[in-house]
Subunit: 221 residues, 8 copies
């Protein structure tokens, strides 16, 4: 099977990019349910807050049809200067953007954007070419069809991009539930953005505090 | 919206039919995953035991390719004489079968069989024609394609058949978790046949007995 | 095609029921993505607030595995006394619940609950039997499989239940964007619960305020 | 099976409605591929031209996020005055719209719009209530999810709405390929809007004019 | 649940219609895999041979793009005069066709054709209107999309058409495996057209003739 | 993108393997429709006849539940001695099988079998390990679920197996429609096993011989 | 993660191939909706016009069932001599075709054709073998099943082919919206071939020119 | 195609890991039907018993929401000390776990766990990094969506992990049905966990013992 080197995300080596996640472009995304996708892009943005990562936000011709970044992201990161590209499709063709990435001094980039096959993939490939490790949060990048998404993700994989879920990014960055940030900080995040887990945590809390055993429950294996 | 009369299953009025659920015919069923379908036919058979219903088992030419009823069903109901049809496709064309149904004295029939579009549908339509209320447990009837299943279920619905899930049958028969059978008898059944619920019940039991609260859990909404 | 009478929801005739939407039962729902379903149940709960409808919340054995109602619902409706059923599967078998429904004095019931095939369907059928108009918000009821959901929705439809989306409920209740509640109250609701629309509204706002035309845009048809 | 009366579309009895097919609302439609849906709404609009039907176009708050009707529709029907509803969700609540429908003097309405569960369904139900025959072109109505679309179509069906394809509408209106409009007018329409058929017609034309038989072809059955 | 009358196919009352199953139109069918659909249309044609039913074949403008009926059908039924419609979309608008149906003296029509939403549905609705029982073999009618097929099948169902599988048609006509035609005639048919069953029958044959028991097999339940 | 060497199938270098395509095992295959899969395994077997390839047939414990090879294959290849493995799961562990492969003197193996994840994948990996080029005809290998099939195909791909369709195998072996075998031999094969193409060829033949142009056809682009 | 070199499309280095996109073969394509696929092949052909690329059109036995290239392509490229292959399946086996590719002097080939698993894949692999960079526009290649398409795309990927969407090709070639061609030329193209984006651009234009803010819109986040 | 070395599972070199398969986490798994997944995790656990492999069980914060290992696993392996991780997400970060793996002295790890993208993938990548061969039983690892599962499996594949089915693991470990464990031990296992095969084996047993040939069966090919 050959040798393999597992490069893990390290919260002190990582930066977060929010790429072309714009209110107009949102309407082009049809590979995920709109509710599910909206959740995913807000969860992606939250990663910077949780793990105190440097954050880069960039937009493409935002006064045109692509529209602006959601205001919530700007409020979350008031000190981040949005790199407003006036024409470059691939953010790496924009000098201000490249400088912003380099200025972070980080070697691991967590990335998501709209559209998966263009904005996300082009930048991911350029970052790989420039020697960065790239973790593409696939849940927070959107495409016009599932077919296009899957081919774009395969293209990134072939370039050594780690195509990963939101929870995988959190897991690699957190590493241990006893760390800070750890369980105390993450459970509220999961409750907002990962309700499959959040509801299990709520149900468990209630069971510990007030739960009673029904007839039949205690004879289960 | 017009008037509607809700006829509910009543455990004292109901009989259970296991129709052509045979080891050879099992291989024709491709509208459900094989594991899921095996679970559903055993769950269906269990209904008679749980609610103490009269049970009728019938097979079609069982020494031929259709094969026999699973032995477990015969062991569950050693006193039930299997109606072994030598040729009739529609069980209602078989006098012994009709007599067996009539002998139960029941007016509500819970039914499942292989194949949905032939064995189950034909009998369901004949039962409706004969004035019975029919509850077709759709999870425990199998077809060669999903397309065929859906059209068959629609055909039954048009005849006034209630096309219902296993859990809906249990819910209508049990009515109240405090009854007998109720929670005490049903949780072990769910643990075997309805693991989505069984695992929640197990997790809750453990939480009540030994659960602890993790940092972050108690600040959830 | 025969005659047809369109009975529309009327905000002065309608009551809202939140049925068995409990933190433990949430984990049984697998016919919708968890994020999408969580959004739907909160949107359903919001309907009472938006249109000032009488609200009835009921739970089934909530100290057991089914767990409690999400706290947010209790906070939204502090004056609503939760009907905590100790055993009845069909809420209509519970006298306190029936009285609560009757006490609203309404003839149109908007309903959603977990699980679609049991809690939602049983109550919907009983309400129809009792003469109520029933609007089942299909997005906010969950089932263990899509197959089970679809059969349960068909069963309700056969009983004259209107199986409708969240947006259809809003549309029938609001009737005119110029009403109160109307556009002013609903856009923020859509932004939270119906982001496909919310993002279009945001993008449009930005275009009106700061939008510029890109080369090529003005020569579109 | 009971008696059945087949009411067919009749080109002298029919009117066409283009409802809320607006450039902003287009982005909410995710139950069809965007290319497929764009094709369907233009094909729907074309029906009026082909069969010389009275056409009614209505929009909902079109200077807001919903946006305007595509210009092509306005150019196709320069004499049609768009009924610009300022607030009514259900077009039947708008007097100008009702008058426009009544002014056609037609009893059969061919309808499509955005969104299926709200604009299309509400009007379809109201039209049925008012005694009209309704043919809902399901390909040209869009919803945010397939699940919502299917429930909305079922709701319309329960009200006696004919939920039909574009080609079924054409077939009922044309009746005979030798009529006018018939093959001569329709093949160019199919070539634009129904390419599965258009390409077969093109290939057949070429074969008649220049086709040669390959070895092996003439020994086919 | 109301009363229901089950009208069953009766081989002495039934006629078979092969409608517009033409080599050019075959290419429009994309709701089934091409191999699966080819199998279904040949199986449908075979029904007449098996049960000695009167057969009616009709085509629409067959020298045009729609193309001819497969030669195999003509060879199976050399005495059937194909009703070659020169323009009528709905076969019931063609006098020769109506006369052919009436000449059979049968009251039950088994039908399939291309396309489901036009040729099959229009004729099925006209036949229902004319008082016939109609069994639409859904596997042998094809549409351009699954979405179109499902709406067309629902439309037929609403008119009292029995939308049924090939095997359901066989089962209703055969009634008893001991009849003629029965097992002796049908197993070879299933082996050709219903391989899920054919292969089970082959495997069983081999097991009876030469099968041996492997270690472990005899301790199964 | 690095260098790439395209190794093509060469009919003088290739041998065909039919692996564990047995009548009992057929019933385990649920990742393809049964009709579609039966077609694919017969098409696969035909490859040896068409291109005069050495053929190896092997079975696993064929008197047990796995059952025998379909008789048609034995009749097609009366001179091929079936390698009847008494226990080895991986055919490459059976010396007689290895010798049979080596005796062909070929370096390119075309392979399909039941089940994809076990019989096909194990042999494919062993053949790659032994230095053979391997073309796995994915249509003619079957698995119990689509999920299992996809992972098995990916596993083979990672080992350098060419996972290809039936038509791709034919295309690489034939190379030119003017060769022998070429169009003359292949069109009848496609008519039987690849009806999407066969029906186009039939329709084209008819158009050349008897086709006429309908009004409207000649004004298409 | 190893090193990666991102080779981007460069409009001065690229040529466009339209391969076997023929009116007869169109009918074999069933992995995409026919409307969606027709759109994709016309969009692919447009690429040459937009970016002024050398274009090569080739067909396979075009007077036979495969049929001719759509006339629109010939009209778009009146100076391109179609390479009419009389038998070679793999276009690279045809000397005239190879010469045509070489005559372009380009090193980057953008390719699409029918069928994906044969025409597209064979040529793509040969081009890779010959040292070309290959961008396969997956939207404009068609296969008989999705399963076949996916395996063919994976095969190309394993050979270093970039399997990319139409929009990704445009994005790599255009690079900057301010270039020529850029926004001015591309928006009309998107309006025709990429309506998800075109409709957003139209809606935005209208909002800038005539949009008004509805109550509620300005209080969105 | 390059050289390939097939490393096969060897029952004397392999150890089994059951990772975070906990009663609370079970509720997060929505990429498989709950019944199917429950079956898969019990089948995975059984592998240690069947092949007498060293087994390692580990859990993550099991008194919290994740819940405990199912009791059945503890009873199957009473001598296995569960490695109860108090916080490490990646089990390889836990020294006790690493020591447990090393103590087995095995070089091949068979692994499954909840969730696929986090627990399973992180450990699999770390094991590959540490030089182990890894066989990830994909059926027994669960994720919240299919999309997440597929990307996680692709990530593991890129690291050289063998992503395999339960039956593939059994096949590689057993190698020959005549071995011990072999047919005698495995058929009962398949009957419980792989019913598609178990039912074929049962049907075959019955046919050998009591089967009779029906008219028509012996004339099948």
């Amino acid at each position: 099977m050959g040798a393999f080197k597992y490069e893990r995300l390290n919260k002190s080596d990582a930066a977060l990019i929010i790429l072309d996640t714009q209110e107009g472009l949102f309407s082009l995304v049809r590979d995920y349910d709109a509710t599910q996708f909206r959740n995913a892009i807000y969860a992606h943005a939250e990663l910077g807050k949780i793990f105190n990562l440097p954050v880069i936000i960039s937009t493409s011709t935002e006064t045109g049809p692509n529209g602006p970044t959601p205001n919530e992201f700007l409020q979350m990161y008031p000190d981040v200067k949005v790199v407003k590209r006036q024409g470059e499709v691939n953010a790496w063709d924009n000098e201000e953007f490249v400088n912003a990435v380099k200025a972070t001094g980080k070697s691991q980039i967590i990335l998501a954007g709209i559209l998966t096959d263009v904005c996300t993939a082009f930048l991911a490939l350029s970052l790989r070419d420039a020697g960065y490790g790239v973790w593409a949060n696939h849940e927070a990048s959107g495409a016009t069809t599932i077919d296009i998404r899957e081919n774009a993700n395969d293209r990134m994989r072939a370039a050594g991009v780690q195509v990963v879920s939101f929870f995988a990014v959190v897991g690699e960055l957190m590493r241990d539930w006893r760390n800070t940030p750890g369980a105390a900080e993450l459970f509220p995040v999961f409750d907002r953005f990962f309700p499959a887990y959040g509801m299990v945590a709520r149900g468990h809390r209630e069971a510990v505090h007030k739960g009673t055993i029904l007839p039949g429950q205690d004879i289960l294996p």
